[in-house]
């Protein structure tokens, strides 16, 4: 096989990939998760969501937030893993974490919570 033939095939392959990428990119859902859509099926899945802090319990090692979207979900934030603690009731926050289940209720074990408003 000639090198030029190999490179032509490579170029066509790349362009084909680029074309599929262009055509498919509009069909990929990248919305943040709605609380109502978080179910047992999402357990252990990383999610990113936004909501307003409706309640907050702050202990030595853990911070528990109730987030309203208007649906509610509990966010557990272990303090040794996070350093953003300047969170107050009424803040709009962005959460990134893993879906978990506790006593039959869905909750998020947060890896990061960021105040966005």
């Amino acid at each position: 096989m000639k090198e030029s033939t190999l490179l032509k095939i490579a170029l066509i392959t790349s362009l084909l990939g680029l074309l599929i990428l262009y055509l498919i990119s509009d069909n990929i859902e990248i919305k943040e998760k709605n609380i109502e859509k978080i179910t047992m099926e999402n357990k252990d899945e990383f999610v990113k969501l936004r909501g307003v802090v409706s309640n907050l319990i702050n202990s030595e090692k853990v911070m528990i937030l109730e987030i309203t979207q208007p649906q509610e979900i509990t966010i557990v934030l272990f303090k040794n893993q996070n350093n953003t603690f300047n969170i107050n009731k009424g803040n709009e926050v962005e959460i990134f974490g893993k879906v978990d289940e506790y006593n039959g209720k869905m909750e998020i074990i947060a890896e990061r919570v960021r105040v966005v408003g």
Binding site: K2, T13, I20
Partner: protein
């Protein structure tokens, strides 16, 4: 969205260049970094884009990792029996051709495998459902066969020894408490450092390399190699623990003896197909068969058809670009190995890996690196296949399924 995916793919290709040409740096390491930094990265990229990044990196890596494999760690030509086909060509001044053959294998087998994706999607869940309870026994049979095909009682004994020694080491390392990146020192020692040490001990001289435009290889041989690479690379990607080394053995058995050129096409193809087809396992049976797919699974536990198509697009894009990169970079490699002292280069690479192991896995990692390098040298000394050292992963997987 298109530009976000495009940027993610280009960054992935860039990362793949780094992991591919740097001995000891594996995509698993970067994939893990992506997952652990996902909380911050998702401020810029979506989960799907992070998946595109990982896939593009993994595919590029499979095209480029043949460069250090061929240009570094070559033993003396007198020990011809244990010299890998890539090293054989390097010692004849045909290192560039060796790289080009693996690239032909990678690109052509990738295209063949992607063409067969619908068939794989249909077959994998149906076959997996029937065989999953026998996976452990299948792996035992596979390893027994690989030991059995070594010629003579001596070689059979040493193959078994290497398999068990690396397997027991794998069991210890994978269950070692609080050890960061356990696979890094284990695999670097067994497959990377050991080859470099052998090369150092033998004071290898690399002849002047030539760059040829055309490779003449019989069509029938190429088709056989690409077909076998697609078939076996796909097959082993459904089984935990098995990798390209085992696929190469199965492939050689299926198509019969292949000449050096065709064997390099086979090896290059298996590596890439193995990575690409593992996406089918993720899509159909939601199982990760390698570190990169495991990382994607962490970010996107179940993928739909649109995401699979997105990953296929990234695979094609990265595969095409990686072909250009591999040929260009191998010319640079040739210039470097012709100018620098080969032994010094090996020492530098060994030191680099040792420093990385110390950083990621501390002193315990360094000890593991030493022990695994010692085991990794054995196949070369006793002249058996290095792939028996994959026992480090296969034995723990067998025990997981059988016990």
């Amino acid at each position: 969205m298109f530009f976000e995916f495009l940027i993610a793919s280009l960054l992935g290709i860039f990362a793949g260049i780094f992991t591919g040409i740097t001995p000891g740096i594996h995509i698993n390491l970067v994939s893990l970094l992506v997952v652990s930094s996902a909380a911050y990265l998702t401020n810029i990229f979506s989960f799907a884009s992070l998946g595109v990044f990982i896939i593009s990196m993994a595919i590029t890596h499979t095209f480029l990792d043949t460069l250090p494999a061929i240009f570094l760690g070559a033993p003396e030509s007198e020990t011809a029996l244990s010299v890998l086909p890539g090293h054989k060509l390097l010692l004849k001044g045909m290192g560039y051709e060796a790289v080009k053959l693996t690239i032909i294998g990678s690109l052509m087998s990738l295209l063949t495998a992607l063409f067969l994706f619908p068939l794989f999607i249909f077959l994998v869940p149906r076959v997996y459902e029937r065989i999953q309870v026998y996976i452990g026994y299948f792996l035992i049979a596979m390893m027994a066969y690989m030991i059995f095909i070594e010629k003579g009682a001596d070689k059979k004994f040493w193959s078994f020894f290497v398999f068990m020694a690396s397997g027991i080491l794998g069991l210890i390392v994978l269950t070692f408490p609080n050890l960061g990146q356990p696979l890094f020192p284990l695999l670097s020692g067994l497959f990377g450092i050991s080859m470099l040490i052998v090369s150092l001990m033998q004071k290898t001289q690399i002849p002047k390399q030539s760059i040829t435009d055309q490779i003449k290889i019989p069509k029938k041989e190429s088709i056989k190699a690409i077909g076998a690479a697609t078939l076996t690379g796909s097959f082993v990607s459904f089984f935990p623990g098995l990798g390209p080394a085992q696929a190469a053995v199965i492939g050689s058995q299926i198509v019969g003896s292949l000449e050096n050129y065709a064997f390099l096409i086979l090896v290059g193809g298996i590596n890439t197909v193995n990575m690409a087809v593992s996406l089918v396992s993720l899509y159909t049976i939601e199982k990760a068969r390698n570190g990169a797919v495991l990382a994607i699974m962490e970010l996107l536990p179940s993928i739909n058809l649109n995401i699979l198509l997105l990953f296929i697009a990234a695979t094609l894009f990265a595969g095409g670009i990686a072909t250009f990169l591999a040929l260009y970079l191998s010319k640079i490699f040739i210039k470097i190995i012709e100018k620098v002292n080969y032994s010094m280069l090996c020492i530098l690479v060994i030191s680099f890996i040792a420093v990385l192991v110390l950083y990621f896995s501390s002193w315990t990692g360094l000890l593991i690196l030493l022990v695994s390098a010692a085991i990794g040298i054995v196949p070369n000394v006793v002249n058996v296949k290095r792939s028996h050292s994959m026992g480090c992963l296969i034995l723990p997987v067998i025990l997981f399924f059988v016990l």
